[in-house]
């Protein structure tokens, strides 16, 4: 488990991370934020590459900075693409395995296991210089996992992968999470992140803006009442019926006269009322949904506030 206690880190006058307190538990956590919000700094603090200027970072109760005990439990898959280009993929992963303390035999066994797992067994003997982006990502993942860490941190792992590669990586991460590992993924590709997890940590200009479950967070954004979109044959009729409901804040009829766009507070009771109205009063409704109940909308609301 990872704990951050009032952690701050700045570089000269530039703030990286500002007074962040959070707990990261086993499972997949999404680390989100605009470019420059401090995500990479946070990851570097956790992996022990940086020392917090104030506050503490604790990984399994120990401070990670220059602490080999912690490094054994951490796997890090960075965003940057720097390798020893003249090494082959196999040699590189083996090297990283040896670096984390495995014996020669253990290292070569684990290397083969992981290369097989990321699907690179047959291609790992060519030098890294000629690898495509997807192949590099796989090697990065393999080296992050080769010493069987409890905690895995991935910085933009989905970047540059085609949809097939993304799905494979996501199933790998899900399998690992089910084994009880703590996984933190930092990514901009929100629709993919949403598939993996609902538990998020949102940074904005170095400060912790939101942490926890997506649904819970959505509930609390008062400034943006929940949007509801209803499609019905007689939109205007339905509109006048719904306008009497107390939690409807605004109603808009779309151009095509078949859609209603509403804003409501307390969506739970609204939907209950809507279901009752549809069933009891036999209002023909074609469809309804909440267009802003997804990660992208929540992100936008939180960040632009």
């Amino acid at each position: 488990m990872i704990e951050l206690q009032n952690t701050s880190r700045w570089y000269g006058q530039v703030i990286g991370v500002n007074d962040v307190t959070a707990k990261i538990t086993p499972g997949i956590t999404a680390l989100l934020g605009m470019n420059g919000s401090g995500k990479t700094t946070l990851i570097r603090l956790i992996t022990g590459q940086l020392r917090p200027t104030t506050g503490r970072v604790l990984v399994h109760g120990m401070e990670p900075f220059a602490n080999p005990e912690v490094f054994k439990k951490l796997g890090y898959c960075p965003e940057i693409d720097n390798f020893y280009e003249h090494y082959s993929g196999r040699r590189f992963v083996n090297f990283m395995a040896r670096l984390s303390g495995l014996t020669a035999k253990q290292a070569s066994d684990k290397t083969e296991e992981l290369l097989h797992w990321v699907g690179m067994s047959d291609r790992a003997d060519k030098s890294i210089k000629g690898y495509s982006k997807g192949m590099r990502q796989r090697i990065k993942l393999a080296q992050a996992m080769v010493h069987n860490p409890d905690i895995i941190l991935l910085d933009e792992p989905l970047n540059g992968l085609d949809p097939v590669g993304r799905h494979e990586l996501m199933s790998v991460l899900e399998a690992l999470a089910n084994q009880g590992k703590t996984i933190m993924v930092s990514s901009h590709i929100l629709f993919e992140v949403e598939q993996m997890t609902r538990s998020l940590l949102l940074l904005h200009r170095g400060r912790l803006l939101a942490t926890g479950d997506l649904q819970a967070i959505r509930q609390l954004i008062d400034k943006h009442p929940h949007k509801v979109r209803i499609e019905a044959e007689d939109a205007r009729g339905l509109a006048s019926r719904l306008s009497s409901l107390p939690n409807v804040i605004s109603l808009r009829i779309a151009d095509n006269n078949r859609e209603l766009h509403l804003e409501v507070n307390d969506p739970d009771s609204f939907y209950e009322a809507l279901t009752s109205i549809a069933v009891d009063e036999s209002w023909p409704i074609a469809s309804f949904n909440s267009p802003d109940n997804n990660l992208e909308s929540v992100f936008r609301y939180l960040v632009e506030a």
Partner: protein, 305 residues
């Protein structure tokens, strides 16, 4: 006149065949180019630009022959490359104006239009700064501007949203959608991020293994037969599923608390049935929409078939 008309194109690099008997027709409008890494998308784009001489077959782009009129094609097309590229030492305006001059515009026209295009792409005062000081989002938009400056009728965009955060993605996709719908510029977007393709394109071309896998409108690809419905619940409710199944519906559990329900009845009947059952079982329905495959799911199906 078709925008792009390729017939039986085969491209061979020494022993490696990148495109094999590839035929496709791309119509006007905004088309997405999809395919796994290494499928031949890159070679296809290079051939469209007239860089690669076909081993067999050929085609036309905007009526110009790809084998012989490479230079004319590059004057009528704009390319936004995937990698970072700029001219060292220039401001954004200088860079875009220079790109215009390289495309054949007279110098005074180039500067005038550079300002227009940069304004359209959302770079306000920043256009007077050196490109090397820009953030990723601004660099990408400048790349888009330099592709558009000479007023080409066809734009080729290679991974335009690569590395952008969610706001940056929106800033990039809105001009692309705007230009291709109503302003008369045709766009071909190659990307791995399928929701972005969905946002701007109407049609897609899927390339795999050097051949055309499928092409068609996005709407058609997403269509699911059987008129299924996607039901979003507030929390899981077993009784709801049991009741529906009892009444002859097929229920499939999707991510989190979503269900896909096929009732084999008319749409209005389906809605009624689902809502009634929900009311009776106390299931809280938050969304009820006709189910569509996501473009990503459709793509995976095409690839794996």
């Amino acid at each position: 006149m078709k925008l792009i008309d390729i017939k039986n194109l085969t491209v061979r690099y020494r022993t490696f065949t990148a495109l094999r008997d590839f035929s496709c027709e791309i119509e006007e409008g905004c088309t997405g180019l999809l395919g796994p890494n290494g499928a031949g998308k890159t070679t296809f784009l290079k051939t469209l630009l007239g860089f690669v001489t076909p081993t067999e077959g050929g085609g036309t782009v905007l009526g110009l022959n790809i084998a012989t009129d490479g230079r004319m094609i590059r004057q009528s097309i704009g390319l936004m490359p995937e990698q970072e590229c700029h001219i060292p030492g220039l401001t954004a305006v200088g860079y875009v104006a220079y790109a215009g001059e390289l495309a054949g515009m007279p110098a005074d026209q180039a500067i005038r239009r550079a300002h227009e295009v940069l304004e359209y792409c959302g770079l306000g005062e920043a256009r007077y700064r050196n490109v090397e000081t820009f953030s990723t989002g601004m660099k990408q938009r400048t790349k888009l501007a330099q592709a558009m400056i000479h007023g080409p009728k066809l734009l080729l965009l290679d991974e335009p949203t690569n590395g952008l955060d969610p706001t940056g993605r929106e800033d990039m996709l809105s001009p692309i959608r705007d230009i291709s719908h109503g302003k008369g510029v045709n766009v071909v977007v190659s990307s791995h991020l399928l929701p972005d393709i969905e946002r701007v394109c109407d049609r897609v071309v899927v390339v795999m293994g050097g051949q055309l896998r499928t092409q068609g409108s996005i709407k058609d690809l997403k269509h699911l037969s059987g008129r299924p419905y996607d039901v979003d619940l507030r929390e899981p409710n077993e009784q709801f599923i049991a009741n529906l199944t009892q009444q002859g519906a097929t229920v499939e559990a999707l991510k989190y608390t979503s269900l896909r329900v096929i009732t084999n009845r008319e749409p209005s009947e389906s809605v009624k049935l689902i809502l009634e059952t929900a009311k009776n079982c106390g299931a809280r329905v938050r969304g009820l929409t006709p189910a569509e495959r996501s473009l990503e799911a459709a793509f995976m199906e095409v690839i794996n078939s």
